[in-house]
């Protein structure tokens, strides 16, 4: 059995690449180790409740934007209708630091006004930063690297404001500890602040169902519960993959969303030259709470809260199991009138130490530790949002260990390695990297990643 294209991973980048390749690139097969699609953004059920994995919101919500707007471009490229995503826009989100709080909505002017109110001396500087972002061409795959943080700090001269701006950008797209490439920063700035947030009403299940439908219509094939243990390459480049069960499937091209270093483990010749750093080090714990009443009734109407309890935002692998100083809280019900099907929920995400969580072997100890640390994290948000601990009907917690188990990503690094392969090319002809290690992050980013790399190959760059 021979395929033109094999895609490793049925996550968002794999499905999006699959749609493009199945339509225009010949016989295409997606191989997914797990029993369902989604990868880092999948779904499951626990305690009778539907739960999304990794979904707070989709970024780039700009439904009436120019056709070049990422979300609209995405829909066209996937031959999907935007309405089918069922997107419900946010109300407002907040960045909360000691002594300062800034809210932002899907209208950038609101954020500009908030900054001007809280940091009047920085009003012009913020406008300058916005102009820089607006003029920067982030789609240029050949741009030079520059430090995002240094750029922000050179323009925003109040350190607290600089930290507050960096915080959500890092939380939603930071693959590097403490800083991000300027290009990536601009992408995040535009996605979050110029455009905005929305969540799919039916959660990831809706989005994945939509993509799988389109993929099937284009004649794409998919095999679940089929992992890949080796990518075979010879002098002429990639020739086949070997599944976990030992089946050899010949192919002309392989698009791997497993991650760069994870792919190198499958195919040592894929090790890129000149890439300095190894896998990413940033992973997270997330607690998902089912509440007995909507968050609004408890006095919270923010859609998402990015909080940090110290003046500087430390974004790095913590020395403790969880970094209790910061986090992201998402209230899905606070999108639109009621942005979630099913019961009210809250999600609390904290930066976590992969080594600690993967090191706990005893299941009871693991459970005990999850309960202990999620309780600490909940306590630490007391100043940031009304206490909902007495309104929790059900809680599920996943850790870096969970992420590694279900996605295979080294260190449970949801944003991948710090050094990206913008064109997705490896030293092996016919073997390409899509997904987090290509560099477009988040749900929208992952889809654009698959599309971009697939398009490069379809345009005959082989």
């Amino acid at each position: 059995m021979r395929y033109d294209n094999i895609i490793i991973g049925a996550g968002l980048s794999g499905l999006a690449a699959g749609i493009r390749l199945a339509r225009y690139g010949g016989k295409t097969l997606i191989l997914e180790r797990h029993d369902r699609a989604g990868g880092l953004n999948s779904y499951y059920h626990a305690g009778g409740h539907y739960m999304d994995v990794g979904l707070h919101a989709m970024t780039n919500y700009n439904p009436h934007g120019p056709s070049s707007a990422p979300l609209l471009k995405l829909a066209r490229q996937l031959k999907a209708r935007l309405a089918d995503f069922g997107l419900v826009p946010q109300g407002h989100s907040k960045i909360v630091f000691p002594g300062a709080s800034l809210s932002f909505t899907n209208e950038f002017a609101h954020f500009q006004d908030e900054v001007a109110k809280a940091f009047p001396a920085q009003k012009d500087n913020f406008a300058k930063l916005a102009r820089l972002a607006g003029e920067y061409d982030e789609l240029n795959l050949n741009a030079k690297h520059a430090s995002g943080r240094e750029t922000v700090s050179s323009i925003i001269t109040d350190p607290l404001l600089a930290e507050m701006i960096m915080c959500p950008l890092l939380f939603y797209g930071g693959s590097r500890e403490g800083d991000m490439d300027l290009g990536q920063l601009v992408v995040m700035f535009k996605s979050l602040f110029f455009e905005g947030f929305a969540r799919p009403l039916g959660g990831m299940k809706t989005v994945l169902g939509l993509l799988l439908d389109i993929y099937a219509k284009e004649g794409g094939e998919i095999r679940l519960e089929t992992g890949v243990k080796q990518i075979v390459a010879g002098d002429g480049g990639v020739s086949s993959v070997v599944t976990d069960m030992g089946e050899i499937i010949e192919c002309a091209r392989v698009f791997s969303s497993a991650g760069l270093w994870e792919t190198v483990a499958l195919c040592p010749q894929a090790r890129p030259e000149g890439v300095q750093s190894g896998p990413g080090r940033l992973s997270f714990m997330e607690a998902v709470y089912v509440l007995d009443r909507p968050a609004r009734e408890l006095g919270e109407d923010s859609s998402i809260i990015f909080f940090n309890n110290t003046p500087a935002f430390i974004y790095k692998k913590p020395d403790e199991p969880l970094d209790l100083r910061s986090g992201v809280i998402c209230f899905p019900g606070n999108f639109g009138d009621n942005g979630v099907e099913g019961p009210p929920m809250a999600r609390l995400t904290s930066i976590a130490d992969y080594a600690y969580w993967i090191g706990i072997e005893d299941p009871r100890e693991y459970l005990r530790s999850k309960i202990e640390w999620s309780a600490k994290a909940l306590k630490a948000i007391g100043a940031v949002t009304p206490d909902f601990s007495r309104n929790v009907v059900f809680r599920d917690v996943f850790t870096p260990k969970t992420i590694k188990r279900y996605t295979g990503h080294i260190n449970g690094a949801v944003y991948g390695a710090p050094d990206k392969l913008k064109r997705g090319e490896t030293p092996v002809a016919g073997l390409y990297i899509i997904g987090t290690d290509q560099g477009f992050l988040g749900i929208v980013g992952a889809m654009l990643s698959g599309i971009t790399v697939a398009n490069l190959r379809l345009a005959g760059k082989d």
Partner: protein
């Protein structure tokens, strides 16, 4: 296929790629890009659709030939007249 047939084929392809664009008043001698919201990814899809629907290959060096309706019809005529 006649010139008119080719023109219709191209319109249909563009209509599929940009379902919300009004193609009624497309001037044949102005570039597509200056009249409708066609970005580089959309343009690539025109090339892809020509390949998929009519098995026509358009190498990258020939992309400028697809800039306007007139130039597209002229360029594709020898490739499509047998269809």
């Amino acid at each position: 296929m006649t010139a008119e047939g080719i023109r219709k084929a191209i319109l249909e392809i563009i209509r599929d790629i940009l379902p919300d664009e009004d193609l009624g008043s497309l001037a044949p001698d102005k570039t597509f890009r200056e009249q409708i919201n066609l970005d580089s990814m959309d343009f690539l899809d025109i090339v892809m659709e020509l390949r998929k629907r009519y098995s026509i290959e358009v190498p990258e060096k020939d992309y400028p030939n697809l800039a306007t309706m007139n130039s597209s019809v002229g360029y594709l005529m020898p490739k499509m007249e047998r269809l």
